[in-house]
Amino acid sequence: MTESWLTQSGAPQSGAPPSWVDGNELAGALAEVFAVDVTTAQGVCAGCGRMAPVAETRVFDRAPGLVARCVGCSAVLLRVVRGPDRIWLDLRGMACVQIAMPGTGGASPDGPGA
């Protein structure tokens, strides 16, 4: 019975200044975990299918963690929580992440370009 509630749209209240920043803000937290810069990756929203650079998501950072939302449908794409000695990462909102890699060519590990 949760589906319909999760699609509640959230237009920002007029009056209050918009309170999000760009996905660029995730770079520091994600650099602690990943060897590549994930903010330049393309992420596909599991909700609406929109594909966009992680750097262009809307990040809410005045919260107990970082929450990145889809610009198209406002669904949660990614959550990061930093504890003193652990990081939690929830990527359920992204159906797929495409990360550009320095050209090695092949589609399979033993392909011609590998």
Partner: protein, 198 residues
């Protein structure tokens, strides 16, 4: 390695009355995991789903017609700020749950905008939880969860869901928005239950 920065004090101050690791703040920080939803009171409703197929709903005017309590409580945010002696008006969950037969011991609280948080039904009763619609004598600001938010001050403040929409009673516990990504399932500030395993 932690570097102490000379001269930096931050907004918060230590206070003996506070739970461990908390700091007193003079203002009321706005924390939010998403945009502030635009909620029209004419379409607003609060529901309780009992878990056995039954669903009670209250419109805005029905809720406001119920007996209101004024409470003065301390609030503790897991991001380490605390505020003492805050005043709220709201309807006690005891009133809303009065003739509801919960199918289980667990509650999942839902908000407009999709936010969720979970807690035991027992923590919603006994004069410890309210649906609050006034803060410090004024209608609750949308930034702080207006038109109405849950108020469960004995747990960390992320449990006091802003823009509350209803309570789903469950046989099985279901972690909410922050509880599913590292934050403690129960969240007692006095036992400093911030993260999983604390």
């Amino acid at each position: 390695m932690t570097v102490v920065t000379r001269g930096f004090k931050g907004r918060g101050t230590r206070d003996a009355q506070l739970p461990p690791g908390q700091y007193l703040t003079p203002d009321f920080p706005v924390l939010s995991a998403g945009p502030t939803p635009r909620i029209d009171p004419t379409g607003w409703e609060f529901f309780i789903a009992t878990g056995s197929g039954e669903r009670r709903t209250w419109s805005w005017s029905q809720l406001r017609a119920l007996p209101t309590e004024t409470v003065m409580v301390d609030i503790h945010c897991v991001t380490k700020w605390s505020k003492l002696g805050t005043t709220w008006d709201g309807v006690s969950l005891d009133t809303l749950l009065a003739d509801v037969e919960p199918a289980g011991d667990f509650a999942l609280v839902h908000s407009y905008g999709g936010y969720t948080t979970n807690l035991p039904v027992a923590d919603l009763t006994g004069g410890r939880a309210w649906v609050a619609f006034r803060y410090a004598g004024a209608e609750l600001d949308p930034e702080h969860g207006g038109p109405a938010r849950l108020l469960v001050p004995h747990l960390y403040f992320w449990k006091s869901a802003k823009w509350v929409r209803g309570v789903e009673l469950l046989r099985q516990d279901q972690p909410g928005f922050w509880e599913s990504v590292g934050y403690h399932n129960y969240g007692d500030p006095w036992r400093e239950q911030r993260y999983w395993g604390d």
